[in-house]
């Protein structure tokens, strides 16, 4: 019985394969085959951030005339993603663009996908084993996320005064990396600015990504350092709490950090906060589809030092097989109305 099923299906596979190979031709400008079957897989569907990510991917798909499907699990776990990776292997997709929900658990499946001839590109979140994908398209280099935030606070304070940091948990690895990059950058680039506690470590307060605790820590900074000129909060929870409390207390301290446009819109619109930044998931999805399409057409190797073009911009692959978008995307009065609707 089983054999018969297998044979029927095999026939279907063959027919499907013939249909698939019949269509692709090449778009002259990019060299990417048209009619590619591309899967765009978020950590989980039903999340606004990934819906925006998919918007960017779909835009690129339209430009390269590919057929892109947004597909993924409802829970952001590796095993759940693996079921969908298996699905796209069986359906003979050409390309998989994926944000890894688990940096390890999906590695064997991605390798299987590659072995089946599928071009794999990670975007937004990478896997631990770089041989499981061609290239990773990620937001910004870790140290640039830190230093960009220093630039924003310098812009808000006019490059003067003492600065504090309102972080997430003391153990938060991402935040700690970014904060470590802020320390020397501020003292070397902005001579008229300093850390309230002397060093960045002694100027960092921890709100544990909890709204109430972050608010209390914001108040603690103002109480301990009444002349603080600016507060950087490299976490969406902290920067929102800081903006709310700043407005409530009519504080003069400047606030910036990594914020969600939809969260921060009211405070940017009323001037409480001049600007916040975050990566732009739309660009992330857009660039990843180009990287994947070009890799599929063998126009881009993904090797360190190689580069590819997405739209008008060119991206270079650096150590670890990663292409960074560049600086975090800045949200201010000029663009917040657009982005608050997106994520």
């Amino acid at each position: 019985m089983q054999k018969k099923f297998a044979r029927t299906a095999l026939a279907l596979v063959v027919v499907g394969g013939l249909l698939a190979t019949a269509t692709p031709s090449t778009a002259a400008s990019t060299g990417i085959k048209t009619g590619l079957k591309i899967a765009i897989m978020p950590k989980a569907v039903n999340i606004g951030y990934f819906t925006a990510w998919n918007q960017g991917a779909q835009k690129a798909c339209k430009e390269i005339k590919a057929k892109c499907t947004y597909v993924g699990p409802t829970e952001a776990t590796g095993p759940a993603q693996v079921q969908f990776i298996n699905k796209i292997i069986q359906q003979h997709y050409n390309v998989l663009v994926i944000s890894a929900a688990d940096q390890n658990a999906i590695v064997p499946s991605l390798k299987k996908a590659r072995a089946a001839g599928i071009t794999v590109v990670t975007s937004d979140a990478d896997v631990a084993d770089t041989s499981a994908r061609t290239v990773a398209v990620l937001p910004s280099a870790a140290n640039r996320i830190g230093t960009a935030e220093v630039d924003w606070i310098a812009k808000a304070t006019g490059g003067k005064g003492s600065i504090a940091v309102l972080s997430a948990a003391a153990t938060a690895a991402n935040q700690n990396t970014w904060i470590a990059a802020m320390g020397p950058y501020l003292t070397s680039k902005y001579p008229n600015m300093k850390w309230v506690g002397g060093t960045v470590d002694k100027s960092t307060f921890y709100g544990d990504d909890d709204a109430t605790k972050s608010t209390a820590q914001f108040d603690a900074i103002l109480a301990q350092y009444p002349d603080v000129a600016g507060i950087i909060s490299p976490t969406t929870v902290g920067v929102l709490a800081a903006a709310i409390e700043k407005k409530a207390k009519h504080a003069s301290v400047k606030v910036t950090g990594l914020g969600l446009p939809s969260d921060m819109a009211p405070y940017i619109e009323d001037g409480t906060v001049e600007q916040v930044g975050l990566w732009n998931p739309i660009d992330l999805g857009y660039v990843a589809v180009y990287a994947a399409g070009l890799a599929n057409a063998k126009k881009f190797t993904g090797k360190v030092g190689s580069s590819f073009k997405a739209g008008k911009k060119s991206f270079k692959v650096v150590k670890g097989g990663i292409a960074y978008l560049g600086d975090p995307y800045v949200f201010d009065k000029s663009n917040i109305a657009t982005f608050k609707k997106i994520y």
Binding site: A6, R7, L12, T69, T77, G78, Q91, Q103, P108
Partner: protein
């Protein structure tokens, strides 16, 4: 009377055949050898635990800590391997961890005399907490390829993944013991009426202890399979698997009240759930639709036997009038 009566478990088996036939002819790629391999891999861990869980639920108990025990077994393998223990011995450590998890549950239920539902809600959290204590936020990867390939490749020359061997061996073992041995009959007797079982000389506490230990051990086996399949051990793995296991057991016709169930009903049930998911996925249903369908199937599995019971009772009442 030798009339064929359509019991729930036979219904599930028929459903399995129906969905498989439908999928093979109606859904592209469903019947491919790759897909058969994927489905078997996908249900591997859940099936292995469901075998043991069937016994436990038939005996009127439950174990909600199985997914945490699975992952604690996986975490143990990861930690031992990271600290230089040869992988084979790390696997043994993982199996023993699963067994220990089961023994702790069994001790609290049979010796201390607590409710298994309450105990295993507690150990669900406890075992998961231990995973985080062992691994912190550092998943273990880079496990030896000759081991992990057992987790994600097929038996050479076939399209069956290696986990099929475990499914066949344990499936046969659990089937024979449940339906053809004294031990199996005791499990049913305990589930039907523990008091009566006790008075007829069945060592109720000891039997339940064995069942909890067995469930723990099978969680350990599933933990090994899980570790190899994903080539890693992380503190937050296998979250929610306990619900998938219990759902599969109940859908397979095992009564949550105890005393009723067949092992092949459970096996057919996990296969149906795997096959249905595959059919829906390959028909490009969204993940949200999948969630709704699997939820509806489970609801039917609980409502239907109860409804048919009521109808039967109603008929009896009418005929006796």
């Amino acid at each position: 009377m030798n009339r064929f009566s359509l019991t729930w478990d036979k219904g599930i088996a028929l459903l399995l055949v129906a969905v498989t036939v439908l999928g093979s002819f109606g859904v592209p790629y469903f019947g491919s050898t790759d897909n058969i391999s994927f489905i078997l891999q996908d249900i591997g861990e859940i099936t292995l635990i469901a075998f043991a869980m069937s016994y436990l639920i038939i005996a009127g108990e439950i174990d909600l800590s199985v997914a945490s025990a699975l992952n604690l077994s996986s975490a143990t393998i990861g930690v031992l391997f990271k600290n230089g223990v040869p992988f084979g011995w790390a696997v043994v450590g993982g199996l023993l961890t699963g067994l220990a998890c089961g023994l702790i549950n069994g001790f609290l239920v049979t010796v201390v005399g607590l409710q298994s539902l309450a105990v295993t809600i507690g150990t669900l959290a406890l075992y998961r907490g231990l995973c985080f204590a062992l691994l912190g936020n550092n998943p273990v990867n880079q496990m030896p390829d000759d081991w992990t390939s057992l987790g994600y490749s097929n038996i050479e020359g076939t399209f069956f993944p290696y986990v099929t061997i475990l499914l066949v061996v344990f499936g046969a073992l659990f089937w024979v013991v449940l339906h053809y041995t004294q031990f199996g009959r005791r499990v049913f007797a305990i589930g039907i009426n523990p008091e009566a079982a006790k008075f007829s000389g069945i060592p109720v506490a000891r039997t339940k202890m064995v069942l909890f230990a067995l469930t723990g051990l099978m969680s350990g086996v599933a933990g090994v399979v899980y570790t190899l399949r994903f080539a890693s051990a992380s503190p937050d793995g296998a979250v929610g698997y306990e619900l998938a296991v219990i759902a599969a057991v109940l859908f397979g016709g095992v009564s949550i009240a105890g005393g009723v169930g067949t092992l092949w009903g459970v096996l057919a049930s996990v296969l149906v759930l795997g096959v249905v998911r595959s059919v829906l996925q390959l028909s490009d249903f969204s993940a949200n639709a999948l969630l709704i369908v699997s939820g509806a199937l489970l609801l039917i599995s609980v409502v239907f036997p109860r409804a048919s019971e009521m109808i039967r009772a109603g008929r009896k009442a009418k005929s006796s009038n």
